[in-house]
Amino acid sequence: MSVPILKQGDVLIASIQSALTDRDLLQLKDELAEKVGRLRSRGVVIDVTALDVMDSFATRTIRSIAAATRLRGAETVVVGIQPEVAIALVELGLTLDGIATALDLEEGLDVLVEVMEARRRDR
């Protein structure tokens, strides 16, 4: 099951619809890296609302998506982490340090604007 990636202005929105296999996750990572480069996107929102499990592999892949897109000049925000999933992640010691998070897509886009502005100021 591949993840649809929508382009909205200079932001890419990856909206995960159902449980993903490891291969799906890796494919998402490649596609996002490619699209960010080709479309010169400034931000990426990954919507994980539909994920009922985020294990160490999924979390590691999301971290590497954030790292890869940052290298190409885009910021990543993860939105929609469910309360139960958040508890499991913390128990696992996986706290996504350094990656912005938000409650939902709308909030994520707000956060992205803030993060992109902060980055611009830092430069």
């Binding site: 449980a19 296999t21 490891d22 009922d52 499990v53 294990d55 160490s56 139960e84 499991a88 010691g93």
Partner: protein, 144 residues
């Protein structure tokens, strides 16, 4: 008195087996585990913790042993209900379990968080491994 044997082998009912040899089987195993845990009376974040632990041990099979199986079942001890997850493979085995159980250790492509992570998510965790023969991980979680 045959204590240790009766202790280690809690009666498991409703056992379901999921063969594991590709990444999609990891998803199947954890979804089935979540269903079974719900049937056993688990609720809320416990369901997610159980499903996540299954995901970790199932991936361990795919990454290190290529194939194996996950056995899921409801169990009962002293009238307390729980779920038992067994991840068995005939892969290369783990030479140093102590080391593998430390956070951050890795011999493959994983973060190495699989086993210690799964242990933190469950109530009981048991691992038996023999180099060249395989690994069996048994985990249990009891209903609060």
């Amino acid at each position: 008195m045959c204590w240790s044997r009766s202790w280690r082998r809690a009666a498991v009912i409703d056992e379901r087996r999921v063969p594991i040899d590709r990444d999609v089987d990891i998803v199947t195993a954890r979804q089935l585990g979540r269903e079974l845990a719900a049937e056993a009376g688990f609720t809320g974040s416990d369901l997610t913790l159980i499903a996540t632990a299954i995901s970790e041990v199932a991936r361990n099979i795919v990454v290190y042993a290529e194939r194996g199986e996950i056995r899921l079942g409801r169990t009962d001890r002293n009238g307390r209900e729980g779920i038992e997850v067994v991840a068995a493979d005939e892969g290369p085995g783990i030479p140093d379990i102590q080391q593998a159980m430390q956070d951050g250790f890795s011999t493959g492509r994983s973060l190495g968080l699989g086993l210690p992570g799964a242990r933190r998510l469950m109530d009981e965790f048991e691992i038996v491994s023999e180099v060249g023969k395989g690994t069996v991980v048994t985990m249990r979680k009891w209903r609060p």
